[in-house]
């Protein structure tokens, strides 16, 4: 009980601190709003990588260091599908850019799911008895993924040029222009957070996942094929990460640094929230996203250009000093 209270206090303090710094730093409510929206936007993208990382770790004890690569691959596939040239050129088949974007996102999700399935079935399964090697293996896979991406799409970063409806629309508030697309992504992330939470709480597969986190062997003895559930969960986690990459691409473009950047920040989110805790991951994503946005604001025009990039790690160290097993972690 006291532990929960300490977590709540920590969350309130961090949020208060971030909002305070941001309020001091912004000149108008509009400025403040932009920072907030940008923070939530980044938080949702982080959540899309971190949720898979967290659930897979809780259920299977596998820390998938290739999770960031799925985000990166998602971004590349979506970019490729949306734009002329590249591997899949859909511009002639689907001239409508809005529809093409939807197709691009679906393609990215399918690619993520397929690659996730292959990784779990082909490479991870033989290693369930050797956890350290699983870690080393997913690390190796992330390197191979990076090199494959470089090989297919070269190292030059792509920035999004093909326009579509939502991407271009803005709305005005407090005299500031806000991107509708960002709001759309935040909304999408929120919907996903709730959907996954409901799935975990209410659905049969959710019950199996929660039971599997407690006692895998007993789940099997009830006649449930745990291995198949592992594959499904792992595949879903990768698909969600690829989805994140795809919807981030219109803003961030596609580059080879995406994978590592998002992996590290998501790991910070997962550890900070408490390994294996879903609510911890959701809260942690928002906190880290906001912290990055505030740091970006603060860093403008100063010498601390690296501040936003190292903010997640700083926040992580802070939280771990307060709560060694993360905000929602149980110290098992």
């Amino acid at each position: 009980m006291t532990g929960q209270r300490a977590s709540l206090i920590a969350i309130v303090v961090i949020l208060g601190g971030l909002v305070g710094v941001s309020a001091l730093n912004s000149s108008s409510p509009g400025d403040f709003g932009i920072t907030l929206l940008s923070g939530l936007f980044q938080g949702m993208l982080l959540f899309l990588v971190a949720s898979g990382l967290s659930i897979v770790f809780g259920l299977m004890d596998v820390l998938n260091l290739a999770q960031g690569s799925y985000f990166m691959v998602g971004a590349y596939v979506a970019y490729d599908a949306q734009h002329a040239g590249g591997l899949i050129d859909l511009t002639a088949v689907i001239p409508d850019p809005n529809l093409r974007f939807i197709i691009a996102v679906i393609a990215a999700v399918l690619a993520g799911a397929l690659l996730g399935y292959l990784l779990e079935r082909g490479l991870l399964r033989p290693l369930y008895s050797r956890p350290i090697f699983q870690l080393v293996l997913t690390f190796g896979v992330s390197l191979v993924a990076l090199e494959l991406v470089k090989f297919i799409w070269t190292t030059t970063p792509y920035s999004w040029t093909e326009l579509f409806g939502v991407r271009e629309s803005f709305f005005e508030l407090f005299g500031q222009r806000f991107s509708t697309y960002r709001l759309f992504v935040v909304g999408m992330g929120g919907v996903l957070i709730v959907t996954i939470a409901l799935l975990l709480q209410r659905s049969r597969i959710g019950i199996i996942i929660r039971a599997g986190v407690e006692d895998r062997e007993m789940v099997q003895a009830l006649g449930i094929n745990v291995r198949a559930v592992f594959t499904l969960v792992f595949t879903l986690g990768c698909a969600i990460a690829a989805f994140g990459g795809a919807i981030a691409a219109p803003f961030l473009g596609a580059s080879t640094t995406l994978g590592n950047a998002f992996l590290l920040q998501s790991i910070a989110v997962v550890v900070l929230g408490g390994m294996g805790s879903y609510s911890g991951t959701a809260v942690g994503s928002v906190l880290v996203g906001l912290a990055i946005a505030v740091a970006q604001d603060v860093a403008i025009g100063t010498d601390f250009a690296a501040l936003p990039s190292i903010t997640p790690m700083l926040l992580l160290v802070l939280v771990l000093l307060l709560r060694p097993s993360g905000l929602f972690g149980n110290s098992r």
């Binding site: 199996i208 929660r210 039971a211 407690e214 006692d215 062997e217 789940v219 003895a221 009830l222 006649g223």
Partner: protein, 234 residues
Amino acid sequence: MTPILEVRDIHTFIGQFHILEGVSVSVASGGITVLLGRNGAGKTTTLRSIMGLTPPTRGSIQFEGNPIQGKSTHAIAQMGIGYVPEHRAIFKGLTVRENLILAERKTGDYARKADFIFELFPDLKRLIELPGGNLSGGQQQMLAVARALVPDNRLLLIDEPSEGLAPVIIEQLIAAIQRLADQVSVLLVEQNFRVASKLAQSYVIIEEGHSRVNGAMNELVGDQSLIQRYLGVA
């Protein structure tokens, strides 16, 4: 009558421990058979070997005439075997209802069996929305048995149901197991001889990884020398 479960001369290793060195057990269809023996004799491992949790390296296991050794645990369970492990491995973070739903093999199993289960264990109905971890030891044991009753199992493997429970609760549990034995066959591991003698029609004694003696329970109850030799002190 053909036995529902026929275990023949199984050998099981855990790591390098040779735990079972030849265990044979036969469970009559519609009856309760109990595995007796001192601590560490290999009773629990026998149940786990049947479930495929510690697969035997030698010997054969047939369930309703079909070989099941070498199959994966979930496949064995799906053939119609329910497992109630020792220390009541219920899911503490799941509610009683979720624990029961989890055991469904077909959608609707739980709805179909709910009345029967709550008749056997009226307590559970009252506790249905509580997390399993909040239940008392006896209630957890009842949930563990109830969970094995949700799908249409034809054989239950029950490991030490009376361990650590108060006498009153044990009596309730005995009554419940006697009642459900009308519908399923049971292979029971039980340290408490009184409980075993009340429930089972036949017994198998396991000693140091070997099945030594078997027969009808009422014969064993009268045979003091046999009890002393395998179960008593000295």
